[in-house]
Amino acid sequence: MSKEMKSFQELILGLSEFWAEQGCVLQQPYDLEVGAGTMHPDTFLRSLGPEPWNVAYVQPSRRPADARYGENPFRLGKHYQFQVILKPAPKDVQRLYINSLEALGIDLKVHDLRFEEDNWEAPTLGAWGVGWQVMLDGMEITQFTYFQQAGGMDLEPISVELTYGLERITMFLSLSRSVYDIDWVPGGVDYGQVRHQDELEFSRYYFELADVDFLKTQFDGFERESQKCLEAGVVLPAYEFALKCSHAFNVLDSRGAVSVTERVELIKRVRNLAVGCAEAFVESREQLGFPLLEQGAPRHA
């Protein structure tokens, strides 16, 4: 057993290496503001249709409403998820997951690992799944989900999604009292030095500066752009604009500018775009003859 990793970047390296060895495409973060790794097209779109797909990547995830001016030791307006998709979900995926923790140097023989029911639902994506929050010594470290539906469509084969909360795991392994104290580099630059200014300034923007009318205009514009792309049959740009709508909505929400009824309405509009993109994506892959079906995605040993 290797030494337990206790820094942020060791975790990223360790997980990347482990999942690359399992045959995952080592992807990069999506270059847009998203709320979770699930929204990356390599998860949301690739989990649709019959083609196999294995991918791993880090995704910075923005939750404007969770921003706390860099003062709360646990809550962040932006955090980092390590996201893995295995499609179809291998039969021994729990075992693989356990191995991934051991690859980080976590000696499970001295820890308590439990899987507690936690089902996942993303109304804006028309998606839901069944699974657990994985608890290590009473701390939630991973969301483990078998996707059942995405874009309002039943999925087959079923993908499994593993979402590691990188800050939480690092904090926990180093028993840090604050996320800002964890080492980003082992024994070197810490998380606060890398991210604190970001948290502070974006909190100010989300809660004080964001222009509500501007964001609402943006939302409308992004929506039109997405619909236009869908009509023209270009799915990926259409989906990108749906994501932009979603982020505009999140900022509006954090600004307290969304009433209860408006909220339902806006979520429905994003959902309609996502469902449209999902259907169009499956169609476009079908036209290509589902190329990955033949080639087969690399599988773990």
């Binding site: 179809p88 023989k109 820890h111 690992l113 010594d137 701390m139 209860v260 009824t261």
Partner: protein, 704 residues
């Protein structure tokens, strides 16, 4: 493996804790029932589960189904044999179909004449064959609150299946579940003992699981866990704060019942007791400890392993608990920065229901409705704390603590009110407002709390009914049945003589023009809704449904009084002469049912029997009124029972439907008056008369 023993174990990924117990109960009972249907009854049934397995052990099953025989009917004898007594083609055809010779056929006498028949022996199947059919079907068809698919579309089931042990008398029962073939191997804990191993029998299974520290039997695991926890609590000089549901949960989420003792900083003990208990329970599934009613700065929870060799499990749990308590302390201190009354502005922003307005609107209505309730009880100065509590009732919804722990709503407001120095009736009313939330809960402890709790719920019921959103079937998203049941319980147990109809009518008015339905429509749908709760609650206490109906039929504006009447009726009807009362009441009701109201004139009384009846009925009314005034309904019913003889005599000797119109109408008027007298406490015609009981009664009376 002993003969006749079935060992069944499904091993899968972690089943949600809340689903385990119902699943194992269903699995065992369906297995038992299906085997019984094949005349295969086990002598003993044992069950067990951990998050990753369901186990059933049946002992003493027969080796095979009993043989049985069936008689197959053939053609009539007349058609099967010709005049010479030789078999016809019909006979030989039937014999051939049954695989027999004609000589083997039998003759059977039936209503339609004599028939040819064949005795058909059906050999019982071996039990293992029966099992191979029913086991996969029962397992696959278990009801789950939520199911999933996995892989390339396997399922639906609660979680992916990994292995299936199905052994009968040591032999593998050939079957499969979602592509997983039954076998004789399983494995232990996924980290500590993941290697597969073979099992030979129930005893072998238990031994090998025990060697890996796993206790599969739920009750045994729970007992062990409680022992370990109590022992740990002793060592810390305290005892567990009782929580049966939490203990069940902890026993469900582990296979190896290991206990972790954790400590937290004693400064957190300044938090209210309720907050500490709730935070530890909801976030960490942990027990708190107390000594002499004071909480200790430690907690106990479970780990799915026997020990904590590196202290990591304890350190990890303590780290999480400290973070959670720090959160709770932050919320508590933030909340205390403003008084409850200062929070009023926040209620405007909090939507109760899009059509029914904000919680500020609701608070205004509850306050007025509370005043109405006080007036109904004739309260004057006593109403002051009720009004104060009503105004503060919902303010804790804006606190950080309640946003974090919804289960502390009400309780938190009560605590903050107490800490602000508000009077006991006020803070207790706020604290208790959501009681009773379940059948086990008590009602609010003070009359002040009872009234505000009623006002709040009647307001909700009227509002939601007023939008036409009446619960149907199992759909009740606003929890209206529970709300109505709480109202009824509070009125009954608090002995509050409050007319729900009047309160609901006031509640309608307070909504102004927000509602879609008219007041009359709302009351018409709400009344039976409340009545259903009354029926249910009194039924739970063991009263017969017809006693409840009889009492309800004459009025429900005063529920404590209704309950007295039901109880009196319940006791009165145990008496042997009570049947006569019911029969007489039914007879009267039958005669007067079509008749318009008539005026009674004493001078028109002609027959001796009717004069006697009149005198007796006059006296009866005085007696019943007297008994009721003293709250003794049972005496009233007894007086009615005594009256039955005079009534019987009247019916025997006097013809009500006399040819003379005046006499006829006068007799009807007399009966109408008697009907009113005996129907004051209950409509006796609602009482169902048992036919057998009726036959047993030696009487010439006709019952219609």
């Amino acid at each position: 493996m002993p003969d006749g023993e079935l060992l069944l174990e499904v091993r899968c990924e972690e089943i949600p804790a809340r689903m385990l117990e119902p699943a194992i109960r269903q699995l065992a009972s369906r297995l038992f029932e299906d085997l019984l249907a094949c005349k295969l009854s086990p002598a003993e049934v044992q069950t067990g589960f951990t998050p990753r397995r369901l186990m059933v052990l049946l002992k003493g099953l027969p080796e095979r189904e009993p043989d049985r025989s069936e008689t197959k009917m053939g053609p009539p004898v007349a058609a099967a044999f010709d005049k010479a007594g030789e078999p016809t083609a019909a006979a030989s055809g039937f014999a051939k179909k049954c695989g027999l010779e004609v000589e083997d056929l039998e003759r059977v006498e039936t209503e339609k004449g004599e028939y040819v028949a064949a005795e058909h022996k059906i050999e019982g199947r071996p039990t293992i064959e029966v099992l191979s059919q029913i086991v996969p079907r029962i397992l696959g068809d278990l009801d789950w609150a939520k199911t999933m698919r996995w892989g390339s579309g396997d399922g639906p089931w609660v979680r992916p299946v990994h292995s299936l042990v199905a052994l009968f008398g040591g032999e593998v029962v050939p079957c499969e579940l979602f592509g997983v073939a039954a076998g004789n191997t399983t494995s232990g804990h996924p980290v500590l003992s993941p290697q597969e191993f073979e099992v030979k029998s129930g005893a072998d299974y238990r031994r090998k699981m025990a060697r890996r520290g796993i206790e599969v039997r739920f009750e045994a695991r729970k007992k062990k866990l409680l022992e370990k926890m109590s022992e740990a609590a002793d060592g810390l000089g305290g005892e567990l704060v009782k929580d049966a549901a939490l203990l069940d949960k902890l026993a469900s989420i582990c296979g190896i019942p290991g206990v972790i003792v954790g400590r937290f900083d004693a400064t957190f003990l300044t938090l209210p007791r309720e907050v500490l208990i709730t935070s530890l329970r909801d976030h960490q599934s942990a027990f708190t400890l107390e000594s002499d009613g004071k909480l200790l700065s430690c907690f106990l929870t479970v780990m799915d392993r026997p020990d904590d060799p590196a202290g990591r499990v304890q350190a990890g749990n303590e780290w999480v608990v400290e973070a959670r308590l720090a959160d709770a302390k932050f919320f508590y201190e933030e909340d205390k920065k403003s008084s409850l009354a200062d929070r009023r502005v926040g209620l405007d922003q909090l939507i109760f229901h899009a059509r029914l307005g904000s919680y500020a609107d609701k608070t205004a209505r509850i306050t007025e409705l509370s005043e109405v309730l006080c007036q109904a009880l004739g309260w004057d100065k006593e109403q002051e704390p009720v009004i104060q509590a009503a105004k503060l009732l919902k303010l804790d919804l804006t606190t950080e603590m309640v946003k974090e722990f919804t289960s502390l709503q009400g309780v938190m407001g009560g605590i903050y009110a107490r800490e602000e120095g508000l009077t006991e009736p006020v803070w207790q009313a706020i604290y208790d407002q959501y009681l009773p939330a379940s059948t086990d809960d008590p009602i609010p402890r003070s009359p002040e709390g009872q009234l505000t709790a009623i006002a709040d719920r009647v307001d909700t019921l009227v509002g939601i009914f007023g939008l036409g959103l009446i619960p149907t079937g199992s759909r009740d998203p606003f929890g209206l049945r529970r709300a109505a049941q709480a109202v009824v319980r509070i009125l009954l147990e608090g002995k509050l003589p409050i007319d729900l109809d009047l309160v609901a009518a006031q509640a309608v008015l307070l909504y102004g023009d927000r509602l879609k339905k008219s007041g009359e429509e709302i009351l018409t749908s709400l009344r039976p809704f409340f009545h259903d709760r009354v029926r249910y609650l009194l039924g739970l206490e063991g009263y017969d449904y017809d006693s409840i109906e009889a009492a309800l039929a004459v009025g429900s504006s005063n529920l404590p009084d209704l309950r007295l009447r039901v109880d009196a009726l319940h006791r009165a009807r145990q008496e042997s002469d009570f049947l006569a009362v019911v029969l007489a009441a039914k007879r009267i009701a039958n005669i007067i049912k079509e008749a318009p109201e008539q005026t009674f004139r004493e001078d028109l009384l002609k027959e001796e029997a009717e004069k006697k009846l009149y005198q007796a009925s006059h006296q009866l009314r005085t007696e019943i009124e007297g008994a009721e005034a003293a709250g003794d309904y049972e005496l009233g019913f007894r007086k009615i029972a005594e009256f039955a003889d005079v009534l019987d005599e009247f019916f025997v000797k006097v013809l009500v439907m006399d040819e003379n119109r005046d006499l006829r109408f006068n007799r009807i008027a007399l009966l109408q008056s008697i009907h009113r007298t005996i129907s004051r406490a209950a409509r006796l015609t609602e009482i169902v008369v048992d036919k057998a009981e009726l036959r047993g009664r030696n009487t010439e009376m006709q019952v219609d």
